[in-house]
């Protein structure tokens, strides 16, 4: 008996061997990575194409083994995740943009017409020229995201920053658009971008797992899981029993924002039992520093003598019992200092005041955090508190793993500071397998910074702009110390942050986005209305106004209050999704003010659907460039051009360079030869010339590949990147090896703050200089700061950490909404990819407690309506007993167009910053790129939910 097999169907009659042979056929194999903002990512894939079409990709498993003489750690491989594995399909997906589009109806009508690039450039440039003439360049804004335009072609996360900055427009600080800041670590260390190698997590004896690395660190978490097999203990601390808690030795089900109570309780036990690293405490922290009891400020030399140093602090010499000035240029102590005691000093006006140490004040603060009190506040039982204290007792090496939710939690600074207290008491900083982490990126940004910065004409005419930029970055840090501050004791980290700050201030284009939200997008009113914090001495607007009046944000408030944004360039970003309240206040208040909205993206985002022009940007495998490098993995990973740019898509740089040329033409035709942005004069006929580095790198793919080549080459000459095989670092070398080593200590602020050298092949951890060379920290006291003597913090009773009840945000509703990254996307990248959608519920979902759901008559997969006084959204419900009864968990980043009514959960988040984060005027409470600004908090926003009135 035979059955007719369909002769036209090649699969039906295939033998197994033939079916096998099918998946081995390709005619091109190139290196690829995904230039998205997962962190650290940097996963080297091989990308396969046949007949000009990408057919698949595969994790290459080619990170070299470690060759460290002192430490044995598992190797890095394989490195990759399920998202990277389907880009070959997603890049051709139904959401992919191929042609320039212009809206053919009202904004959001869904009517689009395809236009030529020429028309797109001309119309957009013309409108931007209009805006510059009528309103000034600061009416043009750039909201750039992290959808990986290559870092070598454009500078940082996209060429749009350079483009808008060149015009004198406003570029918003990406780190505060997102909120990937570590406020508590910043306040403690004077920096947050210390990034230990992921391999060092393996070396800890105790890993405290905050955040959710099972979701957000797929290629890296194996180091934490493997640490358990060498005997380390993993402690997960989270309000719900998330995916990471399932792998822990201990999960602490901590109540809302109660982590500070927990850690203060631990610190009390450590002190009561004498489980302390006293040497570390004395040498590295402000615990011995003297504080005036009368005004709670540090004792300063200026208090003792007229005209003396405002930044000279003191400790008690145990030999004499007298206060001695602490050295500013070194942590090495010339005397043994006291931790305990009270003394009297005579001030310059002859008044006698009592002084004591930070340590004494800390002990007083800790007195109330008994195990019983901690239990009451945090829900963590005294048995678990005792176990936790045992697990951090010296000499155990303790590493606190975090991702970036503290910057998105209102009292996240207290959370981070509180575990830093534990690290300080136990000496867990600056050794392999200890400390905590922030994120760091981009020694290669310096090349791109050359795009933004004011490169002298001579260099553009005859010099090497890339090498110049790299050499200058070292020089300006030295100049900051020597000439600007005239203080040779300034540590390198502070010099790097400070030099960058002053340069950016002069550039007049960078602004933390809080000023956009506050002045122009309607959030001033929203935050005063929807933040109910009985513990805050002032409303947010009061903090904001006071900080402005004090001049604490001078040079960084753009656009000015008086300048309404009129033009917005959105590249690789999705503001209507990402801004808290994006589809709510932001859309209703800011969007109507904008006369021009241009989106650069490889795909249709919600923001694009509300824009005027949508320009197709090329995607990862379509042009050669690199993902940003980071000390966490210490490789620059390269993506080659495997297939030509799809459709009519172009690189971000090509697009913005072409726009720059047209704007120059338009302005010159209108007789505009110069104009000002603040004090900065912009010479119109130089715009394009500067953009091409003096005509060196034009708009063709070949030009841009030369730029990639020359950037790598310059980085190699500086010794900051090294080829894998000892050959010269060129594009050809990257095409061969797919990656290059990071090396040394690039003079880019995010690498200087590592305070350690990178040695290819060896493990890496930060703050070695502090421990090994006694180099000071970049803080006010030059030490790890447990005590913050800024007047605002004293007023708020947060000079020392304490537990503070989470405020009501969004309304008085009894439940809390928490979030984090989805498994299924990197921000909104890939979130609507078929390969991803098939693997969950196919649309947004939220976790709710199963018992509570039943009480509310909600079944699994029902639509629920989630609401507070600020907004509401509808989503599918997933029931789980691992979710707290008073919680709803929804991960990001679903597109608004995946929700009924297009209202995403982000729409009910008012996103208030914490008022204290407007503080300034003080070393180290000073804004610079990525460091120290208010961001929108959203975790633990108040909500309630009910079954929605929608058909199933």
């Amino acid at each position: 008996m035979s059955k007719r097999k369909d002769e036209e169907n090649p699969v039906a009659n295939q033998t197994a061997a033939e079916a096998t042979q099918e998946y081995w056929q390709w005619d091109k194999c190139r290196w690829g990575t995904h230039r998205v903002n997962c962190y650290p990512g940097s996963c080297p894939f091989r990308v396969y194409a046949k007949d000009g079409h990408v057919i698949r990709e595969e994790i290459s498993c080619t990170y070299p083994e470690f060759s460290d003489p002192d430490y044995k750690v598992p190797d890095y491989n394989p490195r990759g995740c399920q998202k990277g594995y389907q880009h070959s399909i997603a890049m051709y997906g139904p959401d992919r943009l191929l042609y320039p589009m212009k809206r053919a109806g009202e904004r959001g009508s869904g009517k689009w017409e395809r236009i030529s690039w020429d028309q797109a450039y001309d119309e957009i440039a013309g409108k931007l020229a209009d805006i510059i003439q009528k309103f000034g360049p600061q009416a043009i804004s750039d909201d750039h995201g992290t959808n990986g335009a290559g870092v070598l072609r454009g500078g940082g996360e996209g060429a749009s920053t350079g483009f808008v900055s060149r015009l004198g427009g406003v570029s918003y600080d990406l780190n505060f658009l997102i909120g990937d800041f570590n406020p508590g670590q910043y306040l403690t260390f004077g920096q947050f971008q210390h990034a230990p190698g992921i391999e060092t997590w393996f070396l800890a004896d105790t890993v405290i797992a905050l955040s959710n690395p099972a979701y957000g660190n797929i290629p890296d978490i194996h180091y934490i899981l493997e640490a358990r097999y060498r005997g380390a203990k993993v402690v997960a601390i989270a309000p719900d029993k998330n995916a990471t808690a399932q792998f822990a030795d201990m999960w602490l089900p901590v109540n809302w924002s109660a982590d500070p109570a927990l850690w203060l309780g631990v610190c009390k036990i450590l002190i009561d039992k004498g489980w302390l690293d006293l040497e570390f405490m004395k040498e590295q922290t402000d615990l011995p520093v003297l504080v005036r009891v009368d005004d709670q400020r540090f004792l300063r030399a200026a208090d003792l003598h007229e005209g003396a140093d405002m930044e000279q602090f003191f400790a008690i010499d145990t030999a004499t019992g007298k206060p001695e000035p602490l050295p500013k240029g070194t942590l090495a102590l010339p005397f043994d200092c006291a931790l305990e005691g009270n003394w009297k000093v005579t001030l310059k006006d002859k008044k006698q005041v009592e002084v004591t140490t930070v340590y004494e004040l800390l002990k007083k603060r800790l007195a109330e955090y008994t195990p019983e009190k901690v239990h009451e506040i945090s829900g963590v039982h005294p048995d678990q508190l005792a176990q936790l204290a045992e697990l951090v007792k010296p000499p155990r090496k303790v590493f606190v793993f975090v991702n970036w939710n503290a910057g998105k939690l209102y009292h996240g600074d207290l959370l981070e500071r509180s575990y830093c207290y534990m690290l300080a008491l136990t000496g867990n900083v600056g050794k392999a397998g200890t400390g905590s982490r922030g994120w760091s990126a981009g020694a290669e940004y310096i090349g791109g910074a050359a795009v933004v910065g004011g490169m002298p004409n001579e260099v553009l005419e005859t010099g090497d702009p890339l090498l110049h930029a790299m050499n200058m970055s070292q020089k300006i840090q030295e100049d900051y110390r020597t000439y600007f501050k005239m203080d040779p004791t300034i540590p390198p980290a502070e010099a790097a942050l400070g030099a960058l700050r002053e340069g950016l201030r002069m550039g007049n284009t960078l602004s933390p986005p809080v000023w956009l939200w506050y002045h122009h997008a309607g959030y001033k009113e929203v935050w005063d209305k929807f933040l109910d914090d009985p513990n805050a001495p002032k409303k947010i607007s009061q903090y904001a106004e006071e900080s402005l009046a004090n001049g604490w944000w001078k040079g960084f408030v753009h656009p000015d209050k008086e300048i309404t944004p009129k033009g917005m360039l959105v590249s690789g970003s999705n503001p209507l999704r990402r801004h808290r309240g994006g589809m709510n206040t932001y859309l209703n208040t800011l969007w109507p003010k904008l006369e021009l909205i241009v989106v650069l993206d490889p795909r249709w985002s919600t923001t694009g659907l509300y824009a005027d022009y949508v320009l197709p940007a090329a995607s990862f495998y379509e042009y050669a460039d690199a993902k940003y490098s980071t000390p966490a993995t210490r490789f620059s990973t390269f993506t080659d051009q495997t297939v030509p740019m799809l459709g009519e898509s172009r690189s971000d740089r090509q697009i913005t360079l072409a726009l720059l040329k047209r704007i120059q033409e338009h302005l010159l035709k209108r007789g505009v030869e110069k104009y000002k942005s603040g004090d900065r004069e912009i010479v119109v006929k130089e715009l394009y010339w500067r953009g091409t580095f003096g005509g060196r790198y034009g708009e063709t793919n070949e030009d841009e590949e030369r730029l990639v080549n020359d950037t790598y080459n310059a980085l190699g000459k500086m010794g900051w990147f090294e080829s894998l095989d000892g050959e010269e670092l060129t594009l050809a070398n990257l095409r061969k090896n797919g990656k290059a080593w990071l090396s040394g200590r690039p003079a880019w602020h995010a690498t200087v703050v590592q305070n350690a050298d990178i040695v290819p092949g060896q493990i890496f951890w930060p703050f070695r200089d502090q421990i090994e060379q006694k180099v000071p920290y970049a803080t006010t006291t030059r030490r790890m700061e447990l005590y913050l003597d800024h007047p605002w913090f004293i007023e708020a009773d947060e000079h020392l950490v304490r537990y503070k009840q989470p405020p009501n945000i969004g309304g008085p509703q009894p439940l809390r909404l928490t979030s984090g990254h989805l498994r299924w996307s990197v921000h909104s990248n890939w979130v609507v990819s078929y390969e991803m959608l098939k693997l969950h519920r196919g649309e947004p979902f939220a976790f709710i407690n199963d018992t509570v759901a039943k009480q509310k008559g909600i079944a699994d997969h029902d639509y629920i309506r989630v609401y507070n006084d600020y907004g509401s959204f509808i989503t599918r419900a997933k029931l789980s007993s691992c979710t707290r009864p008073d919680q709803l968990v929804i991960y990001h980043a679903w597109e608004p167009y995946q929700y009924p009514n297009w209202m995403p959960y982000d729409g009910l988040l008012p996103g208030p910053p914490k008022g204290l984060h407007f503080a300034g005027g003080y070393r180290h409470y000073e804004y610079t790129l990525w460091n120290w600004a208010p961001s929108q908090s959203d975790r633990q926003t108040n909500i309630d939910f009910e079954k929605a009135n929608l058909p199933a």
Binding site: A12, N13, A17, E226, G231, K838, D860, K878
Partner: protein, 366 residues
Amino acid sequence: MSKRQLAMVINLDKCIGCQTCTVACSTHRLNHPGTEMLRYIWCETKPGEGWPKGWMELGRKVPDRVRDYGGTWNFNWDEVYTNPVGAKYLHPVTKETGEPVKWGPIWEEDQGAGQWPNGYFFYMPRLCNHCTDAPCIAVCQDHFARGGGMPSSQGNGHKNSLHKREEDGIVVIDPSSCDECGLCAAECPYKIPMENIVAGTYEMCDFCAGRVENNYAPVCAKSCPARGMYFGYLDDKESFVAKLVNEYKVALPLRPDYNTGPNVYYIPPFIRPTTFGADNKPTGQADIPADLLRKYFGPGLDQAMVTLKEHRARAERGEQSELMDLLIIYKWAEAFTPFKVEAPVDPIEQGTDAGKGLKAGKGLQS
């Protein structure tokens, strides 16, 4: 029994449910017509009904395409992009019925069981077990003996579609002779074979036989970011799989009571947080009930847990433990010996010799 047997070990104490194995397989193998809803490997959240739905209770039933697998999911991107904002939203619809989707391979992600604060879950990838006593092969042979099936275009003399390869124990389906009778899906207690109605055959994981023949490890195993998968020959005493399965006996079969002799083994999740009593007092008991793990992994479970915990305790004391080193895998490529983990670069040419070429027509030939 075949001359040699390849085996896979999956460490559930490390599996983070990322679905990298699922997607690596999908984009490597599931891109021919009819595979939109097919999976050769996927990772379930346990406990739960799994995929197909309630497979452990299906007995000899062939799973229903819509009720048990969830059907084919269609999405409406174009509608979203060509209508006014807010008018249409992107969501799935079951192609077969036009109804909203009600099940899928990863439907139960992170739900688990228990009661707050003692809820719990773990992850468990599932794929063909390449059983030593594969019931799918037996029933396929029987079906052909009774006149079922079709002539194979392989011309290799085998009378039935399903066959176990002599040289490595991989169970493969010959698509040309399969007549979609579904008896393999009925007999397989794990419900692994799935019907491709476009290609007119059942399909399932073949341990990436084509890769294996060219000395590359299966794509799922070499892609696991948690480094939780091992692959090798069970008779190779130095292989990680042999040590974990036979020497330390910590890698256990799934539902050994099905008596099929599966060759995918699981290390049970053994490092778990405690349950809580009143006032969140820790009880010291692991959260996953031992009964559940015994049901899944059989009588070897208890000793395996003792061994794993004892060896971890040695590591805590600073003592050497080969078992813990096998779980750490300092040099990760060793977990796949003799197979390569690097991705191939040069296209595989047909007809060239071993290591560089595809062995043409190997398929069902012994």
